[in-house]
Amino acid sequence: MTLMQKFLGAAATLALSAGAALADPAIIFDLGGKFDKSFNEAAFTGAKRWAEETGGNFREIELTSEAQREQALRRFAEAGYNPVVMTGFAFASSLDTVAPDFPDTKFAIIDMVVDQPNVQSVVYKEQEGSYLVGMMAAMASKSGTVGFVGGMDIPLIRKFACGYVQGVKAVNPDATVIQNMTGTTPAAWNDPVKGGELTKAQIAQGADVVYAAAGSTGLGVLQTAADENILAIGVDSNQNYLHPGHMLTSMMKRVDVAVYNAFSAGPDLKPGFNVLGLAEGGVDYAFDEYNKDLVTPEMKAAVDDAKAKIIAGEIEVHDYMSDNSCPVK
């Protein structure tokens, strides 16, 4: 251990132990950043709601590099925070090694399954929500071509894409879906400029509705869509307010609910798997005053109908991650 590491470690312990009441919850945000207006911000909203309602305190940290994952986890657990919630699939391997070392601490991980006795895994059926917004995209599209911009190329994002394509094809089997992934490294969540360029490329190929599932990169997608006067679909948080008149809807993933529930449960957090889909209110499409003029009554009726059918099990939306392939393109 170099002197620098020692120093940093000591500073981190000091910072964390200062004011650490016993069994306060803690949350770790992933690299996209707390204010990505999307995934991490949804988690923050849930934590904030818990703090406002209970008057409790929670600790938080925004990661700035991959190397901090395990360190942040250990520090929080050592300092006695319970439960420790983390947002993002990328924590899986770190948590898998850290969790057995702190059997009395409860962990919650969102977007990934970690099989440990003290870990609650929360995963979503993103394909179901994406299916609904895909239907809306196909109905709103005049050109018959719609786009999808993903962040980092990982199975989870392909799951969004696959559900979306299935929804589009359900409405218009002849529709074309142009898919782009921003990159293959975590930097792909933070590149709005590239997101904008990809959107321009899709527009040039005829797309008139684009769905962004790309963290902060998505902000560039939505901005370009608004500038070029086409429709966009937001993700994770309700992003309709960002560009009223150009936001068809948002695929909401209620990360806030999962965080709120985990914080409320406190040290009694129940380990195991939690799969949240349309039926559980874990995912949904957004409908509010910002997009009510864009969503026609027929569109809403069709989507609500499909939603009911998915909940009833009459429509089965294929999950990309179940077999790492998508039946439609």
Partner: protein, 326 residues
């Protein structure tokens, strides 16, 4: 693919190539000035980042784009000065100073941004008056119907944002300055053999500072382009390695302005290809995965550095602090 469609796709690719190359061109020319004067500059990334931030922030605050650009250039100049003081006046290691600048920019932008806007380091989205817009060159619409040349003029040459044209003008300007003026001759000499320039009674320190500051202005423009032309807000780490690609392009170009333009356009072209045609199908035989096209600039750089395409010789005094007397 029929000819008309192919032509259309080619236009699209050319248009996007220009858009994504501009930031590389600014950064690459900045590096060119600096390194030609013997100061290695791996802080291009950091200077662009701080400029991108201040351009967006001040533009948002004042509602006027030019104040933003001025602030962005000023911020980049301050960073250039830090690099200058560390590596020229105090003869520190230029690479380390550059690394420090990158770290400083990546941290400062988020910290200042958070204190300023309370949005975790992002700036609020910029409205129309606070960013650059497409300029339609004269006759673009009337000439569009002229076969072949019309669409090229209307779609590829016209319809870019102001800074794109600025970048294209700076290339010949750089060439003229470096190869046709006394200033340029001395600047290059400072990077090759500072002792001889010193013997001639020319201040090495002054020329090196001048070069570093010019690099600051160019990086400032590059950053401004990112946050107010290509994007419409600042996001943390939004330079995303473009400063380093520009350095690769600089080596690729063997430290020459026109080659630099070509190298940046080539790298931009590869990015445009990977944006527009994620998976290229070669005659229906096999697919070139998008990861390959994305990695091509780096592969090309390695090939160049390995000496396959002639030798890339950096300025001889590059990286060496100049000590007057021994």
């Amino acid at each position: 693919m029929d000819t008309a469609n192919f032509f259309l796709q080619a236009l699209l690719t050319a248009d996007m190539t220009i858009r994504v190359s501009v930031v590389l061109i600014f950064a690459c020319l900045a590096g060119l000035f600096s390194e030609r004067a013997g100061i290695f500059d791996i802080g291009l990334e950091g200077k662009m980042l701080i400029s991108a931030f201040f351009t967006a922030a001040v533009s948002y605050q004042t509602g006027y784009i030019w104040y933003g650009v001025a602030a962005g250039i000023a911020a980049s100049l301050v960073f250039a000065l830090i690099h200058g003081v560390a590596s020229i006046t105090f003869r520190g290691n230029q690479l380390i100073s550059g690394v420090a600048i990158n770290f400083l920019a990546s941290g400062l932008t988020v910290v200042i941004g958070h204190a300023w806007f309370k949005k975790g380091g992002l700036t609020p989205p910029l409205s129309d008056a606070e960013r650059f817009h497409e300029i339609t060159l004269p006759f673009a619409d009337t000439l569009r119907d002229v076969p072949i040349l019309g669409p090229i003029y209307a779609d590829v040459i016209s319809g870019h944002k102001l800074l794109v044209y600025v970048a294209m003008l700076i290339v010949p300007l750089t060439w003229w300055l470096l190869y046709r003026t006394r200033f340029g001759l001395r600047l290059r000499a400072v990077g090759e053999n500072p002792a001889s320039v010193d013997t001639a009674g020319v201040s090495v320190v002054r020329y090196r500072y001048a070069a570093v500051l010019i690099a600051g202005v160019l990086c400032g423009l590059g950053g401004a382009y990112l946050s107010t032309s290509q994007g419409a807000a600042f996001g943390k780490e939004m330079t995303a390695g473009r400063g380093f690609i520009a350095l690769a392009a600089l080596i690729f170009a063997k430290w020459r302005p026109w080659y630099a333009l070509m190298a940046c356009l080539l790298f931009g072209f590869l990015e445009a290809i990977s944006n527009l045609f994620p998976n290229i199908n070669v005659f229906g035989l096999f697919e070139i995965p998008v990861q390959f096209t994305q990695a091509l600039p780096y592969i090309l750089t390695v090939v160049i550095l390995a000496g396959f395409v002639g030798k890339a010789i950096p300025p001889r005094a590059g990286g060496e602090p100049y000590v007057k007397e021994r």
